[in-house]
């Protein structure tokens, strides 16, 4: 390794601390926010607001939010569009006519022209709980769990979990110091991997754990010490846990797989996701300074545990014993390494959804396929352009957003505007791979949203507008600016914002 020195970088110290003036409208909004917050703080406000049933029909004014000048103009255009037609304006790109198109790629499927776009429906979001800075952890079993940083004078921040009754917003439990990473809910248990700092004086003694928590009380039922984070892997946690056959199954980055009884935490079995003959394993620990992750993904399907790695190796384990039942290679793209981008698995009624993306000279290509682990068959597969983001609903429908970075021309680059992201949103019926609906590729300023619960599929059209499609193509519009991840659970959209957590009930 060539020796490097830091001398030429030490010139940066202290050179990037100067004050900078943001846009004047941002400064004005911040001042208004400070006046409002400090006024409320002096009244010793409590951190949660009970959304009583009597407030169900009460519309809370949309919170103050950052309003880009273009958003104001776009909002006016959106109102006109609703009045005049049912055309959806996405940053200047119009979507007209049918909402389906035959997907290009390997599977040739008929175009979906049966949908009739309905009129746009404007929905309002209600304030569920005051308190910005909260991130949604999960909504399940009538409980909304959020996480935020809590600060004390000059001390490091700690994480705080809060759980509220979903119907009333009533705070039911609160925990400090647990930083949850991957989370899932199984029956009455919240299963999560965590990182916990031991003491402020010795933060390098941080420990990772796998816990099972009663979601109604916050009490930890059992926990497994996973040891200190591997310094060679940085703060990458293990592959997200799954539940299969009443066992919690967790895979480490080195391919070791373990299973514990869901109720007691007793270790059930351990196994290893191993490479095939003569093929370098993609599961070896990687140097901390570079990463290709996840090197494999895992899901459960019926009584099977399915793992797929970046080389396309599929290994299938018995969830009761951890024994290997089968292994084979998926068709690769012919470039040796199967995927250097996204690698995700999801559980569908008809098989296992495998989403993978590969970098090519033309950009990133996504391959979406459904495999039947019982007979090695590929049920269907498609190729799309762009980096995928997916969510699968219980009915197996798939919301899919593909993201492409597009460069500006040289004139714009002279103005330091190098490019922008574009997104194309689809809702796919997983039994056939057929589009339920699709949108034209459009430009967005902000990160995309990809949600579905099988009845609705939601995405983001503008920085402060969320669109939820129903299966008729009717667009339900919510004028709100989310901060962080959203959740769509049983027809209710949970939206964290700077003002607090809002909910919007979809009809």
């Amino acid at each position: 390794m060539t020796k490097h020195n830091e001398y030429d970088f030490s010139q940066f110290k202290g050179q990037f601390d100067s004050a900078m003036s943001p846009d004047s409208d941002f400064t004005d909004r911040m001042k208004q926010m400070l006046e409002r917050e400090l006024g409320e703080a002096n009244q010793q406000r409590t951190p949660s607001v009970i959304a009583s049933p009597s407030r169900a029909n009460q519309v809370v004014p949309t919170p103050g939010r950052r309003t880009h000048p273009l958003t104001i103009a776009a909002s006016i255009l959106a109102v006109l569009a609703v009045v005049v037609s049912s055309v959806w304006v996405l940053s200047g790109t119009q979507l007209e006519g049918d909402y389906g198109s035959a997907p290009s790629g390997i599977a040739t499927l008929p175009a979906n022209t049966e949908l009739t776009p309905g009129a746009d429906v404007q929905l309002s979001a209600e304030l569920y709980a005051i308190g910005g800075d909260e991130q949604l952890v999960t909504v399940a079993n009538g409980v909304v769990v959020t996480r935020k940083w809590v600060y004390a004078n000059g001390q490091d921040a700690i994480t705080q979990l809060q759980a509220r009754e979903s119907a009333t917003g009533q705070l039911i439990w609160q925990q400090d110091g647990l930083d949850l990473d991957s989370v899932l809910v199984e029956e009455d248990l919240l299963i999560a991997t965590t990182i916990k700092w031991e003491t402020p004086e010795n933060p390098n003694a941080a420990k990772r754990s796998l816990i099972a928590m009663d979601i109604q009380t916050g009490k930890i039922k059992w926990g497994i010490d996973l040891g200190a984070p591997d310094p060679n892997l940085g703060f990458n946690p293990p592959v997200a846990p799954i539940v299969s056959n009443n066992r919690v199954v967790l895979a480490e980055y080195n391919g070791k797989i373990r299973a514990w009884d869901l109720r007691t935490g007793t270790e059930s079995w351990s196994s290893q996701f191993d490479q095939a003959d003569g093929v370098p394993s993609s599961t070896m620990p990687l140097d901390s300074s570079g990463y290709a992750s996840p090197v494999f993904a895992m899901t459960s399907w019926r009584q099977l545990i399915v793992l797929v790695n970046a080389d396309g190796l599929v290994q299938i384990f018995d969830s009761a014993t951890g024994g290997i039942l089968d292994q084979y290679y998926m068709r690769s793209n012919g470039n040796g390494r199967f995927a250097v981008g996204t690698l995700e698995l999801d559980n569908l009624p008809t098989g296992v959804l495998v989403v993978r993306s590969t970098a090519s000279l033309d950009g990133i290509i996504s391959n979406i396929s459904v495999i039947n682990p019982q007979n090695q068959e590929t049920v269907w597969e498609r190729e799309l352009t762009g980096q995928p983001q997916t969510q699968v609903a219980e009915d197996g429908s798939i919301a899919l957003n593909t993201h492409v970075w597009e460069s500006h021309n040289w004139i714009m680059q002279l103005l330091r505007n190098y490019g922008y992201s574009t997104f194309e949103f689809r809702w796919i019926d997983s039994s056939s791979g057929k589009d339920i609906l699709t949108t034209e590729r459009g430009k967005l300023e902000s990160p995309s949203i990809t949600l579905t619960d099988g009845t609705y599929a939601c995405t983001r059209s503008k920085r402060s507008e969320i669109i939820c499609f129903d299966r008729n193509g009717t667009r339900h519009l919510i004028d709100i600016e989310p901060q962080g991840d959203l959740l769509l659970v049983e027809g209710i959209l949970y939206v964290p914002t700077d003002e607090g957590l809002f909910t919007a009930k979809l009809p």
């Binding site: 970088f9 050179q15 400070l34 917050e37 703080a41 901390s288 990463y291 970046a310 981008g341 330091r416």
Partner: protein, 193 residues
């Protein structure tokens, strides 16, 4: 089997402390901090204006809602920067988690000798903007390492703690981050050595 215990649950909602400063004074003091916080975030997240605004707003909200703001104005900015630093690390961590699936190929070729960076006239605004633009081309992990170590002057131990790495792994990460920065700088500006 070790049970990971949590602290006893306190269901008492936190309440705000009575303010000794007048509300107008507190508002003015925090408002005066806006350009300093924005100026802290803007270069450190690669020059993304919207993200810098988001982080500035998050920092101010956390500061106000904590109810623990120092009464002394001399202590206010260091306290705000403590919150800002944590917001920045949380942002890096969140970005890393989201981009985890992007699977950046491992750059294991350390044998290429990279010429160093020239002495830069960082008083010049175009040069500073070019540094920020070069930083924007790096992945979040490299960016986090360079910002914490060289922009903020944190020692290796502090950077390691923030990124959950060992000190040796942090040194290795920093070497690769410098390499990546140099490569990008040279690609954008030519080799001035």
């Amino acid at each position: 089997m070790e049970i990971v215990a949590s602290r006893d649950i306190d269901l008492t909602p936190p309440t705000a402390k009575p303010k000794e400063q007048s509300r107008a004074e507190s508002t003015a003091a925090l408002a005066a901090a806006i350009p300093r916080l924005y100026g802290y975030f803007y270069p450190r997240i690669g020059g993304n204006k919207h993200t810098a605004e988001d982080l500035t707003q998050d920092t101010l909200l956390s500061a106000v809602r904590s109810g623990n703001a120092p009464q002394s104005l001399d202590e206010l900015m260091p306290w705000l920067f403590t919150i800002a630093r944590n917001k920045l690390i949380d942002h890096y961590r969140s970005q890393d988690r989201k981009q985890r699936n992007l699977g950046t190929p491992v750059d294991i070729d350390d044998e290429i000798v990279q010429p160093g960076l020239p002495d830069l006239d960082l008083e010049s605004l175009p040069i500073r903007e070019e540094v920020v633009a070069t930083l924007a081309t790096l992945n979040d992990r490299f960016r986090a390492a360079i910002v914490l170590r060289y922009f903020d002057g944190c020692d290796i131990a502090t950077v390691a703690e923030a990124l959950f790495l060992s000190e040796s792994a942090t040194s290795s990460l920093l070497a690769r981050a410098r390499n990546a920065f140099r490569s990008s700088w040279i690609a954008r500006n030519g080799d001035a050595s």
